[in-house]
Each structure stands twice: as structure tokens, then as C-alpha cells.
Symmetry: C2
Subunit: 359 residues, 2 copies
């Protein structure tokens, strides 16, 4: 009897790449961080508490990437996850609603509920924001989450739409939490940085610098009262983010100009291979515009995920976890040979078990 796979936690950090497994599961880069990130460790001798808000040097470096930003408007966190958790807790009001895109990153609804608020959803149309539907949902919300490029859809929102979102939320006084952790992984245009008085831009070293395991994220906002509230909260809930991770992140940023451009073509090659391969398998999917996911349709995603894992040693993530029960998420953060082998196995599954699934 095979164990039922109830959530991504089943796979995360299990060394799922071992043996014969092909993992299209976890959303993390497979190529290592910039060498500078490790080089800084040999002579590192810090050990005392750091500033709860984050080391001054790191916040200075981050602030330079945001127009008109100051280091005082940055808070360094345990990954983007902690940034989302703390910001939502800090802005939480009784009965507050938070509008989430659907499909969504699987943690979002949990984050909203853990902060004592209620998630409501704006449904994406082919991975894009439908502004009229968006407007109806966000009125009366405390905050809205934007995620472009999107995990799991791989789509990037139109700049014209994002400008309308900024204007509407600005007029209504609604917080925008803009999760831009894939901002350096866009194939179709430059990133458009959402901005405004109540915009909170959430970012991370996990995707840009392949530092997932070190849990280094941050947010920027011009709302300095929010910064103050979050830092006060964080002084009780986790204190400073690991000083070792921060030293590594600062070193990594110094290689940004070589590291990031060198990796984008690698991601594009994989994207093209994955998209072409899936089209050849007659799967119905959007061409990824950013991040490293494809999100093809499957008649019964939960069953397909189990069959692929237990019968073909292929890890995929159930679309149900992302609010899309008729899709499977495939991460293509793995090398070309593995992508090709994985596609072959998916092909076999489609020819065999999948044919027997009810229409």
C-alpha cells in the first residue's frame, strides 16, 4: 500500500534527487550559488546577535536595487516565507480579508489564516489577472497578494495590468504584497517593480542566487511604521536572520552582474526543452514567461501525481495544492538529460495508466 502524499512537505529536503528518481517537484535551483558566497565563510568569525532588521551592510546593498529606497526600509528575513508571515501578522485586523491569485503558491492561504485573516481569491484567466474580476474581489480587502512571475503558473502579468492594480489599491488604501522572488528569471521582459505607499515588495536570495537552504529573504516598503511593527515582532519571534546566511548573501550580491546573466540562458534552454516536450506529448499548458515551472492540465492531478511517483519514479506536485485540481506542477530546475528522461517517463505514463482515467 503506497503512502498518500498530502502536501509538498512529503518531498521537501528528502534528498529526492537520489537514485533513479527524476524530481520535477521542489522549486529550487540545482546549480550552486556564486563562489563568493562560499569564499566568505573560510574567514568568517562572527557569532553575536545581529540587528533584528538585518545587517546594515546587506540592507545598504539591497536598497541600491530599489529606486529611492533607503536601508531603513528593508527588513531581512528567514526567506520570503518569513517576510510574508510577519507582514501579514503585522497588518492583521479582525475580520480582515486578503485577496490571493488562484492558482496560488501553496503557502499563501495558510499564511493568511495563520495571521488570523481570511483568504479570498481572484481567479487568473490563462494565468493572467482579469482586472474586472480582480477589482470586484479586492474591494473591502485589507491586502492583496500579487505574484509575478508566478509559482505555479510560470506566467508574468502585463505591465498595463500591474499599473492598474497599483492605482486601484493605492486609491483604496489596500496593502499590496508583491512576491517578486522570480524577478530575475523572466524570459519576456524586464521585471516591473510594483510601487506605492502601501506596497510591500517581497524578495529572496533563494532563486536569484540559489541559496534556498540558507533561508535569506527580505522585504522593502516605504511604509516605515510597518517596518517598525515587523522588527518589533521579529525581535520576539526569531530575532536576527542568521548572520552567516547574511554574510553569504552580501558576498553573492557582488557577483550579481556575472552570475545572473550567465544563468538566464540555461533556464531558457530548459524552458524551451520542457515546453516543446510537453507540447509533443499533447499536454495542454501555457508557455512559461518566467520562473521555472510548467503547469499542464491533467484530468485527475492527485491520481496522476501518485502514479508518476510510485510507478515511474517521477516527482510532480499536485495542482490541488495550488488551487488548480486539474493541473500538475513540474519544476524544470534540473539538467537537460534529466528533463529528457523525465519527459520520456511522462510519455509512458500517458500511454499507459492515464488512458484509463475517466474523462
Amino acid at each position: 500500500m503506497n503512502e498518500v502524499i498530502a502536501s509538498p512537505a512529503f518531498f521537501i529536503g528528502r534528498g529526492a534527487e537520489a537514485g533513479n528518481l527524476i524530481s520535477f517537484g521542489s522549486g529550487q535551483p540545482d546549480l550552486p550559488p556564486p563562489p563568493a558566497a562560499y569564499n566568505v565563510l573560510a574567514s568568517y568569525r562572527g557569532f553575536k546577535y545581529g540587528r533584528v532588521q538585518g545587517e546594515e551592510t546587506l540592507r545598504q546593498a539591497i536598497a541600491k536595487e530599489y529606486p529611492n529606497a533607503t536601508p531603513e526600509q528593508i527588513v531581512v528575513t528567514n526567506g520570503a516565507s518569513e517576510a510574508i508571515d510577519l507582514v501579514l501578522r503585522a497588518i492583521s485586523v479582525p475580520g480582515g480579508k486578503v485577496a490571493l491569485p488562484r492558482p496560488y503558491y501553496y503557502s499563501y492561504p495558510h499564511n493568511v489564516e495563520l495571521a488570523g485573516m481570511t483568504p479570498v481569491y481572484y481567479d487568473l484567466v490563462d494565468g493572467k489577472i482579469d482586472f474586472d474580476a480582480f477589482e470586484k474581489v479586492v474591494r473591502g480587502c485589507r491586502a492583496v497578494m500579487i505574484n509575478s512571475p508566478s509559482n505555479p503558473t510560470g506566467t508574468v502579468q502585463e505591465v498595463a495590468t500591474l499599473k492598474k492594480v497599483e492605482k486601484l489599491c493605492g486609491d483604496l488604501g489596500i496593502y499590496i504584497l508583491s512576491d517578486e522572488v522570480y524577478k530575475d528569471l523572466i524570459y519576456v521582459r524586464e521585471n516591473y517593480l510594483l510601487t506605492g505607499k502601501r506596497v510591500v515588495t517581497i524578495n529572496s536570495f533563494s532563486k536569484t542566487y540559489a541559496m534556498c537552504g540558507f533561508r535569506l529573504g527580505y522585504f522593502h516598503t516605504f511604509d516605515e511604521k510597518l517596518v517598525e511593527d515587523v522588527v518589533e515582532m521579529k525581535s520576539h519571534t526569531s530575532m536576527n536572520t542568521s548572520i552567516g546566511s547574511q554574510a553569504m548573501g552580501l558576498a553573492a550580491m557582488k557577483e550579481r552582474d556575472t552570475y545572473v546573466p550567465a544563468h538566464l540562458p540555461i533556464w531558457e534552454e530548459r524552458r524551451d526543452l520542457m515546453y516543446k516536450g510537453m507540447c509533443e506529448l499533447d499536454l495542454d499548458l501555457w508557455k512559461p514567461e518566467g520562473a521555472f515551472y510548467v503547469f499542464p492540465k491533467f484530468r485527475d492531478a492527485t491520481r496522476a501525481m501518485h502514479d508518476l511517483y510510485y510507478n515511474y519514479d517521477v516527482i510532480t506536485y499536485d495542482g490541488t495544492w495550488f488551487g488548480a485540481p486539474k493541473r500538475l506542477r513540474f519544476s524544470y530546475a534540473l539538467d537537460v538529460a534529466k528533463i529528457e528522461e523525465g519527459l520520456k517517463r511522462v510519455g509512458k505514463f500517458l500511454e499507459n495508466e492515464y488512458k484509463t482515467y475517466p474523462a
Copy 2:
């Protein structure tokens, strides 16, 4: 006009030891971690997500320090702070009350409130639990926090009392959160490990291995449902604890048998110097039995803290932050020469400004 000092956040991580300052403020060791903790960094090349619960090797090593414990009963966290935050959030019930010692570690009431529950207090008598008063307060509580050795009082609870606490809370089905982060810093006896089905033992690498800045903590509990709930929550709020910090912690543990015994006499020497010096200054205080704090009485602690900081370059923490407005907390985690200089300055303050304070 001097800036008002409203909370410990004013001092934490500011490099407060610089210049002419004597810092009796922050509660962190001044001597570095075991060399092994740094040595492991030179060849460290991990970068992917780790298990949300913590690396298996580290949990195995920790479990060996707890009788009958298994690695599955350990969760590795961003310091003891995150352990407390997540456990309280996981056991939170509407209207739930959590009993805290008073004086308390300054984050406790915030942690309880941030978890949506209400703090109630059992007042310590000369730093010790008065069991009758304790019993009256804890009835009807969801959980109780025990902190022995105590920050800020420096006292250690009697074993006989701790056994009665175990029995009472076990009978009532109340969670015990036992914050034992100073367990390796006891001058008067071995640590007594509180145990029971609903006991959650919270610990940290910060004090034992001087790793404050790396934010490595953990908890142990036999309540495996609670472990499951916390890991699920942590997968959304911060994911794994920094893998670099975990590798350092595992290496540090291998030097436990030399590192910990070598440091205890250093702490004892400082404790003796501090206690004797304060007695000679006619201050009213308890002799520390553990941790590295003294907590003498002052007529107006808030005013005394400001005078000592702005007029004598001496950092102390206002007892008000710990629920004891007539005391000041002094950490003696600094070298003998600095302790002596600091005591001299306190002496001058007592001879000058303090004499003018109303009785």
C-alpha cells in the same frame, strides 16, 4: 535631549561594546563558539532546502541528550524564539490563557499575545516558584511557561517544586513549555529536565555554544501530533532553519565535552566578582544560581537605566521590560576587567544621581 530607550531592541546588535561603553545589556556570551563550528564552513557546499523539521544528523545528535527521545520528536528552529512562537501558535485555542513566571523573559507576553492567547502571571517569590500561588494561576490555562535557570532573575527552581509542577500539569493536561536555554550554565546542581507527555523542552545553541547570531534552537516533545502541527506550520512560515547554522551546530556538539566544562569556571568567576561587587555597593540582589544575570533592586529602574547609559556609558536593561519595575538586569557576559570598570561606574552613579531619586 536624550532618546528614550523603550525596549531591548534599542541595544541589540548595535555593536554596543564599541568605544568607552560597558555593556551589561545583551544576554549573549562574549567568548567565541567551539573552533569546530567554524572549521566545518571551509568545505561546506550545501545550498538546497533542508528538511523543514531539521537535518536528520543534527536531530539524531540532539535526541541523544534527551532520555528515551527519538530524532522524530525534535524540531530545529530559528533560535528558541521561533520554537516558542511556533509551539504557542500550534496549541493556540480561542480564549486560551498561558501562565508566565513574573519576572519573565521580556518576549514571553508578546509571544503569547502574538499567538492569539492571553498571558496570566504567577509571581516568583525571591525568584522562586511559590507552588500554592502557581497552582491557583495555572488551573484553566492552556499552557504554562517554566524558565529555569531564569532570565532575568538568575535563579534555579527547586527540584521538588519542578516535580510538583510536572505532576499538577500532567494531571490537568496543561502543556508545559520549559525554556531550558541556560541548562548548561547552572552553578548549584545538575539540570533537572522536566518531562511528561505534554512537556515541550525548548533549547538553543546560543548560550551553550555561543552561537546567538546563527539562530539555532530546537524543541523536544513526546507529543508527536504537536511536532507534526509545528512542522506543517513552519513549512509555510520559514521552511528549514538555515542549513549552514545547522552544520555549524552539529560540529559544535562534537566538542561539547571539552567546551562546556572549560567555560563553566569562567562564568563562575564572573558571577562571583559581580555578586561580590554589587553586595559591596550595598545593592539588594539574589546570588545567581544559573545563567549570567544579576537583578538588583533600584528605586526607579527606568530612570537609572537612562542615567547609567547617558552619563556613565553603561548599558543595563530596565526591569520594567521583565515585569519588575524596581530592578535592573545586568548581564555579566563580559570579561573581568570590564566588569570591574562597570562596577566602578555603577558605584559613582550610586554616589551621585541615584542619591537624589525619591525614596
